[in-house]
Amino acid sequence: MGILTVLWEKWAEFKRDFYKITVAAMISPLMYLLVFGLGIQTTSHGEPYLNFLIPGIVAMVTMTGSFSAVSQNMSVQRLYEKALDQVMVSPTPLWQFIVGQIVGGALRGMYAAVVILLLISPIRTSLVFSPLSFAIMFLNGTVFATIAVALSFLAKSYTDAPRFNTYIIMPMSFLCNTFFSTDQMPHGIKEFVQALPLSQTSDMVRAIAQGGEPNLMGVVVLLAYLVVFASISFAFIYKKKNL
């Protein structure tokens, strides 16, 4: 019930800011596609580079869409608007509030991915996005929404939200299998980057898109991130002395 309340709140926000949310979801992935995909015409592993790039971009927007939908919103609600106080005093179980944020964030990530898929639909490729691709993208969204929830409890001012974006989301966007394969990275760094959630998602979405079999070990890795950061978020909301 509490989960539905948070989803209702997210839906109200989505309806209110529909144009802003949609345009924001489109701008940077579209730029990346134009510059790297269409501007710099090249090939990767004997295939058009777009076949490599598009699944990476789609995986990336589920990350950025989910993360930004939660981190900005939660930080502002907790530190600036103090709207979290309304939730804290209510009988809604706080774990349901957290789960609502995670699901709502993941849905916003999915929305961003669907917008990009619609935008690139005129481009002729052999890429396939199956229900399994969408399930993996949704899982990726839940992971990054959960990371955003946990970080929003650490934020000391609402200007910290953009900083988290700079420290976490931007490096992952560039390094995690989006624009180039992690196989080309030096030993040590490669293993670290490959273990990051976006690398796993990009890998699986790309494998399905190119007609191959995804390494479902990636799902286990994503679930592990989800469990760890959800536990941290629950601990924060129940145990943090000063919210």
Binding site: D85, M88, V89, T92, K241
Partner: protein, 280 residues
């Protein structure tokens, strides 16, 4: 009934609330009175579970209040000092969100919103966004939001802070009308006249410590209901008397600039705590 037992909150070395013990009876309108920084808001924040106590506990009808105590929290509603609501929501959305957080049905939410907006004179503004409301309207909306869920206990943290004199009087009328709703109310304020006008009992708090709890008139009677002020070496000196006759007798001994007046709750606070409510 609310029982606050040994409640303490420390932020590092700073003790914001220091072993507070207070009992608030059912249907009582209790005022927690103290200057800025006395620990009033920290106390309310612990009662709304936004802050967890360093020591002590809060019991509501014998049950401990904490973040997991949904049944206890169901009885509570809070009007915080800050405008704690989504600034981009409309007033109707703020009310619907509150209703949903308390598991109310949509039909019930609509009916209650209409009733409360009528009660607070906000009926024409339901579609207005919070950020476009005046301070007074935001305060009224927060009270409507708190009443939406028919709480048994209402916590009001400086509900008239930042309001002009007229808006404050209107808010007092609104708060006075809450007495008919069989609510237990804890009001924190640093406006002495507000506590005197609204509360059955007041508790003085300063430096996080509770000083005294009693009815405003009883506190004034203990000090003496008549005050005589005069200047002594450029400083205002007040003396208190149990009868008008005694006060007049003293007045006649003093120079012409001495004045006789009724003792206020602020006089009681100054005498007990050693400084005025508004420092400056």
């Amino acid at each position: 009934m609310i029982e606050i037992r040994n409640l303490t909150k420390r932020f590092g070395d700073f003790v914001a609330v220091d072993h507070l013990d207070l009992a608030i009876e059912t249907n009582e309108f209790m005022g927690l009175l103290g200057p800025n920084g006395a620990g009033k808001t920290t106390t309310i924040s612990m009662m709304s579970t936004v802050l967890l106590p360093t020591e002590g506990e809060i019991l509501v009808d014998g049950q401990q209040l904490n973040r997991k105590a949904a049944a206890v929290k169901r009885k509570l509603s809070v009007v915080t000092q800050e405008y704690s609501m989504r600034q981009d929501m409309t007033m109707n959305e703020v009310m619907e969100y509150q209703g949903r957080l308390y598991y109310m049905r949509k039909k019930e939410i609509r009916a209650k919103t209409a009733e409360l907006f009528e009660f607070a004179g906000l009926s024409d503004f339901g579609h207005r966004t919070v950020r476009h409301l005046s301070g007074g309207m935001k305060r009224k909306l927060m009270i409507c939001r708190a009443l939406m869920v028919e709480p048994e206990i209402l916590l009001l943290d400086e509900p008239t802070a930042g309001m002009d004199a007229l808006a404050r009087r209107q808010m007092w009328d609104l708060l006075r009308s809450l007495k008919d709703r069989n609510l237990t109310i804890l009001l924190t304020t640093h406006y002495i006249d507000e506590a005197q006008a609204l509360c059955n009992r007041v508790a003085f708090i300063d430096g996080g410590k509770l000083d005294v709890v009693d009815a405003p008139l009883a506190l004034i009677d203990q000090l003496g209901p008549f005050a005589v002020d005069h200047l002594e070496d450029g400083k205002l000196v007040s003396r208190y008397f149990p009868t008008r006759e005694a006060a007049i007798a003293r007045l006649q001994e003093l120079p012409d600039d001495a004045v006789l007046r009724a003792t206020t709750l602020e006089d009681v606070f100054v005498e007990r705590v050693g400084h005025r409510l508004t420092r400056g």
